[in-house]
């Protein structure tokens, strides 16, 4: 890279003006509201009540809140597991194999990220709900219900976070090429051995990165889940739905406490991601 010090060294009033503007903009738009959330989380609910960590903890240990977080973690776990298996498989197929429709499939697997979460929920309802959906009756006749159940929540979550793992693995697979895999193959390794000993070690960090991103997205999914879930207390109410229900129900302290946990989770994901990036580069 060329030496840019000379250009960077010339600091006029414009530089300072832009710097001040950017800091002020980000402070007002992002930092200040986040600070405000933290304050609300640890504020006492009423005048004279206890605030602080104790109150925060008490709000979180309410049974309906623990139910919501349990459900969220369960749904996210299955969605991420499915997406990881599917993502690794489809990435290998897309990059390493030739078959008709390969290019169009590679465009289609990215589509879920661009679809509005509400449309995702609507799509699942129109396909699988009993009464309204294409396949609802057929599934109901074998006793399987998608809409309003945990499998439906898992499907909605898996839908919206589907491309995240693939987006990480495909570029890495393309970059490393297939030479080592072909060498292993010609030395007599079977497909599984080649995958486990050659391919997997080189895409390891990409997979981990994709899993962290999917996990963050799955824990926080709201729109798609809102449509397919009954969304009532102890009945399909995930953490994000709980936040909405409690806030609109004037139980703001609980809403803020649950939101604060999700804020921490996403900041943690950001930190992990930047650590992985460093690990990967070294």
């Amino acid at each position: 890279m060329a030496d840019t010090r000379q250009i960077r060294a010339r600091k006029g009033p414009v530089t300072y003006l832009l710097r001040a503007f950017v800091i002020a903009y980000l402070a007002v738009l992002v930092i200040w509201p986040l600070f405000e959330v933290a304050q609300q989380t640890f504020a006492p609910a009423d005048v004279g009540d206890e605030g602080g960590v104790g109150a925060f903890w008490e709000r979180l240990s309410d049974p309906s809140v623990t139910y919501a977080f349990n459900l969220t973690v369960t749904v996210a776990f299955w969605a991420v597991l499915i997406n990881t298996l599917f993502g690794v498989g489809i990435s290998l197929l897309l990059v390493r194999y030739q078959f008709p429709g390969r290019r169009i499939l590679s465009v289609l697997v990215d589509l879920p990220m661009s679809v509005s979460p509400v449309v995702v929920g609507l799509a699942l309802v129109l396909a699988y709900s009993t009464g309204k959906g294409w396949f609802g009756e057929a599934l109901a006749s074998v006793g399987f219900y998608v809409i309003g159940t945990t499998p439906g929540l898992i499907m909605a979550t898996a839908f919206v976070s589907l491309p995240l793992v693939i987006r990480e693995i495909v570029p890495v697979l393309e970059e490393i090429g297939a030479d080592a895999e072909m060498a292993a193959h010609s030395l007599g390794a079977n497909g599984w051995q080649t995958f486990r000993r050659i391919t997997l070690p080189s895409i390891k960090w990409a997979v981990v990165y994709g899993v962290v991103l999917s996990m963050a997205r799955s824990l926080g999914e709201f729109g798609a889940v809102k449509i397919v879930s009954p969304g009532a207390e102890f009945r399909g109410e995930t953490a994000t739905l709980l936040i909405q229900n409690r806030y609109t129900n004037y139980e703001e302290p609980t809403a803020y406490a649950a939101a604060f946990v999700l804020v921490l989770a996403s900041v943690l994901a950001l930190v992990v991601v930047s650590l992985i990036r460093k690990e990967d580069h070294s």
Binding site: M1, D3, T4, I7, R8, G12, V14, R19, V22, L26, L29, P33, E36, V37, Q39, Q40, V95, R96, Y97, Q98, R102, R103, L105, V107, L108, D110, L111, P112, S114, V115, S116, P117, V118, V119, L122, A123, L126, A127, M155, F159, L162, V170, A178, M182, G191, L213, A216, G220, F222, G223, I227, T240, A259, L262, V263, S266, A269, L270, V273, S274
Partner: protein, 282 residues
Amino acid sequence: MTDTLVAPSGPARTTSRPGGLFRLTPTSGVGLGVALVWFSVLVLLPLAAVVGAAADGGFDRFWSTLADAQTFAALRLTVVEALLVTAVNAVIGTIVAWVLVRDQFPGKRILDVVIDIPFALPTIVAGLVLLSLWGPESPMGINIVNTRQGIFLALLFVTLPFVVRTVQPVLIELDADVEEAAASLGASRVTTFRRIILPSLVPAIAAGSSLGFARAISEFGSLVLISGNTPYETEVASLKILKFLEGDNQAGAAAVAVLLLVVAIVTIVILDLISRRVARRG
């Protein structure tokens, strides 16, 4: 530097070779089959069901749903707000990227992480975060609930990273020699920026803007608590879908959803065209 949660270049599609290296073996063939069945069940069939439901009553019904005064007002508000936010982001996002790349000051790395927070936060939490500062109990005394300014602010928040994260890597890669040459030939800084730097940033700004626009059009979670959902005033497309669905009007919900799907697909195509043009030039 760019530990980002946004995949800036859009789809991670395979561009290297026209076809993969290996032919399908029986094992990989079965794998492809399983992957395709799952992908169809999860994504393709439900999306087809949306299109089917929208087409059910014929084109006239589809059209009359969208042309209904209340629905049309919601669609117009969505598009106008998304365009406004995109325009603001194109300018401010470029400035933020510029400051993050070219300026050096203590705390810059923190700002770099702050950019990702709006994207990492669950959407409902993003709404709550904004309400804690600009909501009914605002320490500023400003209440944005049920106003168009509130919708604008929420969209500005969730689309913050798109332009920044697409422009940043291009600015880092930019060759300083050309700028120095222009400066030594007597070009002012404004001229250098306008004639040398801006043209190379335009594809990145366009790509980031179209990602942001697509996101703004389909945004749901962050608006649920902020938009009061008043017809003709603060009702946006995604919330209109929810209202249709709650009123058991699947055809209406599907009609609006198809429109959002079309916008999503058009965005993907535009991004593909931009990235190919850039690839050809580079």
